[in-house]
């Protein structure tokens, strides 16, 4: 299948980035879940949103090698930005438009990402974990303290999202929310996919692999890290905005530690460095949570913990890693016979 790789390396590199049938199948499945699980639309939208957040973490973690435990800060800032837009822009035509809200959510989160990106340029994994966590905690403090703007611990009330593009209003069944979340997630994902498949994306891998070497060939390592961190923050912000718009409120736990931890967990669940890991992880994690949560609401944590432990112990690269290993074994067997 590989088109005469040694002779035409450029063609081979291009071929590697084509859309594959299983990718198309994935998105087709995502869209058709609307018809298959009409009663779970809200859950599915939430999965898209969470998946998008995990994808944004994948940009920094899986591609640039920056561990963060504070993506929740950007998610939360985006959530509040979109919420405030919807609340105060309510009714006034252009300002209340959800898409504009997302734009603002992304920009505000991106701006925060840009400013804080300078904090993660130095130090070890542990320092990065702690600094990003620290930033998230400070943002959480600010959100709870600034009661006049954010509603403090009680959350932001009175968020009324206008219809998308003035046509589709958010309904109780979550139909609009479903399509809205799906399309926004897909567009962001498509963007990320282009990004990681470009020369820029490759240079991120170089930084992840060996920053010293990257510098000595003239790569502006810090600039690249700032860029990707900002982009990831923007996408996190957009996913936060999505959550606010589809649920019509924002609360401090959108900024909280567990949000960041969950997203990171989901990413590793799915497998980081593949982009799809975040999405698949979100599906599996949430479905599992919903399923186990219905059987034994008090103890579902135990099972999540167990799965996590087993995953780390026995599977490299999360669910995607597992699938790839299976495929390899399968194809090897095929060759053998």
């Amino acid at each position: 299948m590989i088109p005469d790789s040694p002779n035409k390396p450029a063609g081979w590199l291009l071929w590697r980035t084509r859309w594959r049938w299983y990718e198309l199948a994935f998105w087709a499945a995502a869209a058709s879940s609307f018809f298959i699980f009409p009663s779970k639309l809200m859950l599915i939208s939430e999965i898209f949103i969470l998946g998008l957040l995990a994808v944004s973490i994948d940009l920094t973690l899986g591609f640039a090698g920056l561990v963060t435990l504070g993506q929740g800060a950007f998610f939360g800032v985006g959530a509040y930005a979109a919420g405030l837009m919807a609340k105060y822009g309510a009714g006034t035509a252009p300002f209340s438009d959800p898409l504009l809200g997302l734009l603002v959510a992304g920009s505000v989160a991106g701006a925060l990402g840009f400013v804080t990106s300078f904090l993660v340029l130095r130090g070890s994994d542990l320092t990065r974990l702690m600094v990003t966590l620290g930033v998230a905690l400070i943002v959480e403090e600010i959100v709870t303290q600034a009661k006049d703007i954010t509603g403090g611990s009680d959350g932001l009330q009175g968020v009324m999202s206008s219809p998308v593009l003035g046509v589709w209003s958010f309904d109780l069944y979550g139909r609009t929310a479903f399509w809205y979340a799906l399309i926004v997630t897909f567009v962001c994902f498509w963007f990320c996919r282009r990004l990681v498949n470009s020369s820029f994306g490759l240079s991120l891998l170089a930084i992840k692999g060996n920053p010293l070497r990257a510098r000595t060939i003239g790569m502006p390592v810090n600039t690249r890290l700032v860029a990707i961190y900002t982009i990831a923050a923007t996408i996190s912000g957009i996913s936060g905005g999505l959550l606010t718009q589809t649920t019509q409120f924002a609360s401090p736990d959108m900024v909280a530690f567990h949000r960041s931890a969950d997203a990171l967990l989901i990413l590793v669940f799915g497998g980081s460095g593949f982009l799809y890991g975040g999405l698949i992880g979100a599906v599996v994690f949430r479905v599992m949570q919903d399923f186990i949560g219905n059987i034994t609401p008090q103890y579902w944590l135990f099972w999540v913990g167990l799965v996590l432990v087993l995953l780390v112990l026995f599977v490299r690269g999360g669910i995607i890693g597992m699938l790839m290993a299976l495929r390899e074994r399968f194809s090897r067997k095929g060759e053998g016979s």
Binding site: S153, D154, V159, L172, L243, T247, P252, D253, H258, L301
Partner: protein, 365 residues
């Protein structure tokens, strides 16, 4: 074929608030166990969901319960933000939401479909402000957890205490997730007030009370008072003898003397070994009662608006005493007791010694 009426109970069963969720579910289940599950010819079914204390999960559960399970009402809500999160959903879908725990005043104003059977913080704080002012305190300091209910409690306390001629020297707010109260307590101590008013959510109360005792505030002649949350029945024994004599105001005590309460406590302990019912359990119980009565009144009609109308003005005897749903505000009107921690049969109880009858939430206009 018999028709089922479903009620969705959204409780927090994991995380720091898990204990309260457990109480609530136990209370609601106990009600159904003792009163059967048939009302007006319909079978009542309870669907329990865990929201893990996260607002968007609460909201999603609410939406799914309403849309998929077609519940007639939802109930529960351990914290104010969780209740507020469902306001748009219930308004849009016209589904009653019975608040069994959350205690910020404004909740019921956020949707005409909220009905509260628990309490509000101002409702609890005002009586103790009055009582302590009447009993010789001229100055006071308040220390609360920094979130909606805490601020409510603090403001209500200040309002009534100063109406009575006292002076609140300082209103201290400790972060909600906070293991260490010593700086705040020391500051309170240094201000030398006659009384220190406390409110923190139930799970933190034990920690706070230990530190209060350790710091010797009572020995410094500061009268420590608070709402019943800090001497929660569920945890009182764990906190230990040091809280003996502490005076609080609340709408429920496991030691309430009525026959109904004695039966409630006994049955509760039987059904849930090792647990003692607290005000949250009573909230669960009364939430179910309000719903049962409403279904009876509408004769099995589960239209949301009709159910809410049926609940408005309802009056009944609860293990806590007599209670009414205010027809205007849909908020609870109930007796608030002044209690003192005492030891009975080797266990600590809040013993009621004074009562303010039929208190309305002072914050609603």
């Amino acid at each position: 074929s018999q028709e089922t009426v479903k009620v969705g109970l959204i409780a927090t069963l994991t995380g720091p608030q898990a204990a309260s969720g457990r109480q609530k579910v136990a209370g609601a289940r106990l009600y159904m166990q003792l009163n059967g599950n048939m009302v007006a010819g319909k079978k009542i079914e309870l669907i329990i969901k865990d929201d893990t204390g996260v607002a968007d999960v609460t909201r999603r559960h609410a939406q799914e319960l309403i849309v998929n399970d077609k519940v007639a009402a939802i109930a529960g809500f351990s914290l104010t933000p969780l209740a507020l999160a469902v306001a748009p959903v219930i308004t849009q879908s016209k589904t009653p939401a019975i608040i069994m725990t959350a205690g910020t005043s404004v909740i019921t104003e956020r949707s005409p479909y909220f009905v509260r059977v628990s309490f509000t913080l101002p409702q609890q704080s005002v009586p103790i402000a009055e009582w302590v002012a009447n009993n010789g305190a001229k100055t006071a300091v308040s220390l609360v957890s920094d979130y909606g209910p805490g601020i409510d409690a603090q403001n209500a306390f200040k309002m009534r205490f100063e109406e009575k001629g006292g002076k609140v020297l300082e209103q201290l707010k400790a972060p909600l997730a906070n293991p260490e109260f010593s700086p705040f307590l020391q500051r309170a101590k240094d201000l030398k007030p006659d009384a220190l008013f406390l409110f923190v959510p139930a799970p933190t109360a034990g920690t706070l009370m230990k530190q209060v005792i350790d710091r010797g505030l009572t020995e410094a002649n500061i009268r420590v008072i608070g709402t019943g949350d800090i001497t929660d029945d569920d945890q009182l024994n764990g906190i230990g003898d040091s809280v003996l004599g502490l005076i609080t105001s609340h709408f429920y005590s496991a030691a309430h003397g009525s026959a109904m309460n004695q039966k409630f406590v006994a049955e509760f302990k039987k059904a849930n070994p090792g647990m003692r019912p607290n005000f949250i359990a009573v909230g669960g119980w009364d939430g179910m009662h309000a719903f049962y009565e409403a279904v009876k009144k509408t004769n099995g009609d589960t239209d949301g608006t009709k159910l809410v109308d049926a609940m408005k003005g309802a009056t009944w005897e609860s293990p806590r005493g007599m209670m009414t749903i205010d027809p205007q505000t849909r908020d609870v009107i109930q007796d608030v007791y002044i209690r003192k921690v005492e030891k009975r049969d080797g266990e600590l109880y809040n013993i009621e010694f004074d009562v303010v009858k039929q208190v309305k939430d002072p914050m609603h206009k």
